[in-house]
Symmetry: C2
Subunit: 382 residues, 2 copies
């Protein structure tokens, strides 16, 4: 299927401070974003795609002259694809605190002139949604045909439906959860400890020391990868395959293919990802919990939502299992909301939301066709 | 129930080298062990209890003058307990490579006079079983009424039934697996990378630098703890409980109780456990795979076994799930071996094998009563 072709990121500067959940604020800041397709005359076909931990505003298409620069959801977003850019105007925004262009820990703190580092304020899912809404205001987009995201992106989609119920017609939440379990938090905490206790972390001010806590980032990423893949997918892909014909009997050399894979993933990640961003984003995951302000009652929390929902989960996802998606569905049904739910039998674990799976993509395609019909019908009414 | 009371470790020196699977050998070495109960006249009531990753020869009882010094399986082993020391002579042996008294990486390498460190030879489950057998030879014990272990200890029990089929009457393998899955190896590898990349590791020769790679050990232990507990047990015990009444909005301070628990476990472990031992023992886990020499066919591998078996698994154990125990049971049944299998519905995950659970202990008790009857009947025959 045709890709979007070359796309170009844009940036927008905000001089007004962003007031954060923590009580702190982000002085002035810049958001980097991309758009694909054309906003229609009545601005009714805008879809916001929210990114997860290590992704960005670069959702689809490629960068001219950069090989292998496909966006992270290029298989889902483009002309003729499930989210069809011939019909929808798609927006991807890099969240503040990230390390892909929007203001983050590696940028200068206006208060000191030095990089924020560990002084970058803690940001939450709600803060990101707030920032995204301000950018949409500037684009003149009042109402979203849909907000969509997977994993942490799905949390942002859910949060949109609660923070701005009147601005969201459809919320598509994929492979996500209404909050992290103790086990989810535990994995995040181990990853953070690996980073923070790396001597090259320097209390989060490593930029000034000309180093990067790569050891910690590698371990963090290796832990992450284990939770993204299903046990079965790992068994299928690597099993107990050895790298060499014979055992080397070594505690430090690579013996098994799975070790080689994890080390490679860790090394690659530590070359491009920022350690402070890793801390910030895992914390945003930990904090997300819309039921918290309602005594832990998700149904009461979701009562504010006005959107129609598509919730998708994957059978082998043990990071955010189908049971967690069903909690969201139940809370919506308790409020008599319009909700479609698909539990996709896929072997890939949490990673499935990024992969091309025929049944999964068919569900998303059908849902966007429904949205497109509603837009058409809405236009006919006028 | 009464405990064994005070127990005393003993040690035995071996001047003959231990030939290892890797082709290397351990020059001369010492094994530390404990025994409880009395060996009967025909030496038919001996039970060997094999230890897992961070345990030792100190299976039951306490050390005089040392508070909280109960052995790691004190709830299961003692007078009147499921493994009744009034009827059985129980032996616990610290495996070579461990850090609780038997020759290990912190002891002097006779070739250099300096601590072995990373030069301690790689040891396998089979090597440990070999060493245990040599110690039993010296105690004059030819045949074991039973060999029992949980987790990595269960692998040793299985290995006994294959290496010395004629010396084992009963094999009790609890919460174990016929080999590690790719996911199991992946967790081990992340833990090892955390240790090896700690700057205080010094290539495994940290003793000479007067430091310990505590950062890596902490992270390794935190990862381990996540895999020992079930998701449900963590949710039950910690959930999303906060340490303080209000969120601190910090990436590095403790917010959630689960973080506090994991950090505490990591800190405690890093105070007493040896990093080189951690590498060695996780590698022994990775390598264990009796089917490997039989083209991956576990049934063919288990054909050598002559013992009767009790296999026990726990429903919420996701480290070594019931499915892995069922593989062992199937391989035994394929060979028409006498095997009892209990799948205990317990909420605690892998840790369940160390905990006091009425149904689990009843199964083990009943099985030892059967063994005791067989010993009685054998004696009557003579």
């Amino acid at each position: 299927m045709a890709s979007l072709g070359h796309v170009t990121p844009q940036s927008m500067h905000f001089a007004e401070p962003l007031r954060l959940r923590s009580g702190a604020q982000l002085a002035d800041y810049t958001l980097v974003y991309e758009t694909y397709g054309t906003l229609n005359a009545d601005k009714s076909n805008a879809v916001l795609v929210c990114h997860a931990l290590n992704a960005s505003h670069h959702v689809a298409g490629t960068y001219e002259g950069v090989p292998k620069s496909e966006g992270w959801w290029d298989n889902l977003v483009g002309p003729g694809k499930p989210l069809d850019t011939d019909r929808f105007f798609v927006i991807g925004i890099n969240n503040p605190g990230s390390c892909f262009g929007s203001t983050g820990p590696m940028h200068a703190n206006p208060a000191t002139g030095k990089p924020y580092g560990a002084d970058f304020p803690v940001v939450t899912v709600e803060d990101w949604v707030q920032a995204q809404a301000l950018l949409l205001d500037r684009l003149g987009i009042r109402t979203l045909a849909a907000v969509m995201g997977g994993s942490l992106g799905g949390m942002q989609a859910l949060s949109w439906s609660l923070q701005f119920p009147e601005r969201v017609r459809h919320c598509i939440a994929i492979a996500t959860a209404p909050n992290l379990s103790a086990q989810n938090i535990a994995f995040n905490e181990v990853a953070r400890r690996a980073i923070v206790t790396d001597p090259d972390f320097h209390g989060g001010h490593y930029y000034e020391h000309g180093v990067v806590p790569k050891r910690g980032l590698r371990v963090a990423r290796m832990i992450g990868h284990i939770t993204y893949l299903s046990d079965d997918a790992m068994a299928e892909k690597f099993g107990r395959s050895l790298r060499a014909a014979e055992l080397a009997y070594s505690t430090q050399e690579i013996e098994f293919q799975i070790e080689s894979y994890l080390r490679y993933q860790g090394d690659k990640f530590s070359e491009y990802f920022d350690a402070n961003t890793y801390l910030l984003i895992t914390r945003a995951l930990d904090y997300f919990d819309p039921a918290r302000d309602h005594g832990g009652d998700l149904s009461r929390a979701m009562a504010r939502a006005r959107a129609k929902f598509l919730v998708v989960s994957f059978t082998t996802d043990w990071r955010f299992s189908p049971a967690r998606s069903r909690e969201i569905v139940k809370a919506l049904l308790d409020n008599r909301r319009d909700v479609s739910y698909a539990e996709i039998d896929a072997p890939h674990g949490h990673d499935a939301f990024l992969l091309e799976d025929a049944r999964y993509h068919a569900v998303v395609r059908a849902y966007y066709e429904r949205i497109a019909r509603e837009i058409e019908e809405g236009r006919d009414d006028e």
